[in-house]
């Protein structure tokens, strides 16, 4: 049997992984429960039992790569080919941008922290509806909002190397002088790097005047609902009582969060009460927990949607080791139609208890302080003629290797290419 290594989250594991050869093996060796399964259990009070620690053992892209059309499943050969291709890219020793460039610095951080990779799953996309496996088109209103954010991002990126060298982060823009827009308030509340369109890594806009200029991730507020994993993966812990289902999401590098879903007919919160993770109302439909989520905050961000996001989640224990999570995502102000995502959660070992509510990102967020102090130091140095204009340096949207993959071409992730 060849040595298998499933890389899960946890900095210690990731650090070890950097020095090792990355092999995308089938799960079972690490935290996962044994391969044996049985029927879906019930709680002692007779409800479907969703309890335990859960994660997902296979990587499935959110959107289906176009080359697979309307096909829902990969063949086994395709899975093997994709894993081989991903291993090849991840194991190249010299996949670096030009030494000393901002992309090289950004890539080094990503390579050390975000090489969380699992073997390719059977599904060609997490999205099961629409049939093409793609997020439906944005409404004109949402396109306008996205374009306004993108325009602001590009205005701040235009004097940097990213635009000078016409890298992916500058897509849609061109090299130019420092824009007067750098002094402006952003046109919308800033959230995630991708909120304006392409351009990954770091903050939302190329500026560090305030903590609010940086991404929710850098502010230790990255956790979103729904969460499909992404670069850091997640572990859920579910604990039930009659009338309530409690879930803690161990996600996004210590940015975990929790929800207690009441099983109730009571109405949602008044519409002026808005929350980062919305307001959940659960009910049992046969074996399935159906949760209706509304009342999101205008500061939340999910794939272009903000406060009008409406989720209907369906949690079903298929067997002892599997939960099927299906969520229908709707926001008529953002998408032209609702869409549905399905993800399978795999039960993790209860005794190993690999579920960490800490260390929390916020308590150790020296990064934000250092970013802001650094920006102030650069401004002072520039004012005293000792350094370059900070406006011409890139700290957000600069590109670089993301989760071990390049931005475009042969080095990019074949699952999202």
């Amino acid at each position: 049997m060849r040595t298998r290594l499933v890389i899960v989250i946890g900095v210690a594991v990731v650090i070890a992984a950097v020095a090792l050869f990355v092999t995308l093996g089938r799960p079972g060796a690490t935290g996962a429960a044994s391969g044996q399964t049985g029927p879906a259990p019930e709680t002692s009070w007779g409800e479907p039992d969703l309890q335990g620690i859960w994660s997902y053992d296979f990587e499935v892209p959110l959107q289906r790569p176009a080359r697979f059309g309307n096909r829902e499943f990969f063949t086994e050969e395709e899975q093997a080919t994709l894993d081989k291709e991903r291993e090849r890219i991840l194991n190249q020793d010299d996949r670096r941008y030009e030494r000393g460039s901002e992309q090289d610095v950004g890539g080094a951080y990503n390579a050390a922290i975000f090489t969380t990779h699992k073997p390719t799953g059977r599904r060609t996309s997490l999205i099961v509806d629409p049939p093409d496996g793609k997020i439906p088109p944005l409404t004109p209103e949402a396109q306008k909002k996205r374009a306004e954010i993108r325009e602001f991002q590009l205005a701040l990126l235009q004097p940097t190397d990213v635009c000078k060298n016409n890298l992916q982060g500058c897509a849609g823009g061109k090299f130019g002088p420092v824009s007067p827009r750098r002094a402006e308030t952003p046109p919308h509340y800033l959230t995630a790097a991708g909120a304006g369109g392409p351009g990954g890594g770091g903050g939302v806009i190329n500026r560090s005047d305030n903590p609010e200029d940086r991404s929710l991730g850098e502010r230790c507020m990255a956790a979103v609902l729904p969460d499909f994993g992404g670069n850091t993966g997640f572990y859920l812990q579910i604990i039930q009582s009659p009338g309530a289902v409690s879930i803690f999401y161990d996600t996004a590098q210590g940015q975990g969060w929790q929800r207690v879903i009441p099983v109730t007919d009571n109405p949602h919160l008044p519409s002026n009460v808005r929350q980062w993770w919305g307001n959940s109302r659960g009910r049992w439909e046969g074996k399935t927990l159906v949760v209706d989520v509304t009342n999101f905050s205008p500061k939340t961000y999910f794939q272009g949607s903000y406060e009008n996001l409406h989720l209907v989640e369906r949690w079903t224990r298929l067997d002892a080791n599997t939960i099927e999570y299906a969520v229908t995502i709707d926001d008529p102000t953002t998408w032209t139609r609702p869409w549905t995502v399905k993800q399978e959660y795999n039960k993790q070992n209860d005794f190993a208890n690999r579920h960490y509510k800490e260390p929390r990102c916020h308590e150790g967020n020296y990064g934000m302080a250092a970013l802001l102090v650094g920006a102030r130091a650069e401004e002072r140095a520039f004012a005293q003629g000792r350094g370059p204009n900070p406006a011409t340096m890139c700290t957000a949207g600069c590109g670089g290797f993301n989760a071990g993959f390049g931005d475009t071409g042969e080095e990019s992730n074949p699952l999202t290419r």
């Binding site: 709680t43 002692s44 009070w45 309890q51 005047d209 305030n210 903590p211 609010e212 502010r219 230790c220 507020m221 812990q237 604990i239 039930q240 009582s241 009659p242 009338g243 309530a244 289902v245 409690s246 803690f248 969060w257 929790q258 207690v260 009441p262 009571n266 109405p267 919160l269 009460v273 929350q275 980062w276 993770w277 307001n279 209860d350 005794f351 190993a352 208890n353 960490y356 509510k357 800490e358 260390p359 929390r360 916020h362 308590e363 934000m368 302080a369 802001l372 102090v373 920006a375 102030r376 401004e379």
Partner: protein, 321 residues
């Protein structure tokens, strides 16, 4: 040989008990277990619901008189009892005071600090704003999370009990089953529970030394060890008692106790208090591009407190003349 046999018999009996408990909450009760009640979970009292302490312990766990401000400065008189609210809280007026309390510390009400630890506690109190982890929205730790002025929700199952706290959207799991201990020290501790009749007894350890007991600077080290006892006094009141042990800071164990009340409002639910965001101005305001900080005096940042009198406000009319 005999010992091994006994051990395996106990293991079988324990496994049978667990299976039995999981099958039915009400059919059979093992010897010594309490009589079944409606709503019990596996034959034990059900603490599920939304709860909140209703006392002043979050200000100061010890008995204290009311004081005019959480931060104070000398007033016209030189006496300590005649101090007035100081700049950081003066803008809040009477809302910035600290209410009086009988305290929650049992016995003589003293916390048995070692002399060195008592000196640190006093410094903590003087530097409350700069040192209290609550102000930074750090995880509050146990027992502090239990009596902060925010609700928390208990989800009780057979093998685990989950406590979700509104403050900082934090949580802890009380393990009634056996799990691997945490790989590092924690802010919220590692909680292992067991039943003594109708009382839930929780042993909490694996703490770091970063959390406090209150806003008065009462603190502990990473040797903190708690034994909590939860008892339903009525269906809507938990009697909560904690034995606190920390040989690095205290000369002997000491105890706190208080009732914790069920939140009875219709449609009561745990709402978010995601203070990570609220603490940003506090933590990073001085390193903004255009900070509110007016000037620095050594290591002290000076922030002006300005108050705009509404035009036509009668209360200030005479004052302006």
């Amino acid at each position: 040989m005999r010992i091994r046999l006994n051990a395996s018999m106990i293991a079988v009996a324990a496994a049978a008990a667990v299976v039995g408990a999981a099958i039915s909450a009400s059919v059979t009760q093992s010897a010594g277990a309490p009589a079944p009640r409606a709503g019990d979970i596996a034959g034990r009292p059900n603490f599920s619901g939304i709860w909140q302490a209703n006392n002043e312990a979050h200000w100061d766990v010890q008995a204290h008189a009311a004081r005019p401000g959480a931060v104070m400065q000398p007033g016209v008189y030189p006496f300590e009892y005649a101090q007035v609210a100081a700049a950081p809280v003066v803008a809040l007026g009477a809302a910035a005071g600290v209410p009086a309390s009988l305290g929650i510390v049992e016995g003589d009400g003293e916390i048995p600090y070692t002399p060195e630890a008592l000196a640190i506690k006093k410094q903590n109190a003087e530097h409350w704003i700069d040192r209290d982890p609550e102000l930074k929205c750090y995880l509050p730790g146990i027992p502090r999370a239990m009596y902060m002025p925010y609700p928390f929700e208990i989800t009780q199952s057979t093998n685990k009990i989950h406590m979700a706290y509104a403050f900082a959207t934090t949580a802890r799991t009380i393990h009634l089953d056996e799990v691997d201990p945490p790989p590092a020290d924690t802010w919220m501790g590692h909680s292992v529970g067991r039943w003594e009749g109708n009382t839930l007894v929780v042993d909490v350890a694996n703490f770091n030394d970063k959390t406090w007991f209150d806003r008065a600077g009462n603190f502990h080290s990473d040797a903190l060890h708690l034994v909590e006892r939860f008892t339903l006094a009525t269906p809507d009141v938990i009697q909560y008692e904690v034995t606190i042990e920390d040989p690095k800071v205290f000369t002997r164990p000491w105890r706190i106790s208080m009732p914790i009340y069920r939140r009875m409002e219709p449609n009561m639910q745990l709402l978010e208090y995601r203070c990570t965001e609220f603490a940003e101005e506090f933590l990073y305001g001085h390193i903004r591009n255009e900070p509110l900080v007016k000037r620095w005096e050594g290591e002290t940042m000076i922030v002006d407190i300005t108050r705009k009198v509404p035009p036509g406000d009668k209360f200030y009319e005479w004052f302006r003349k």
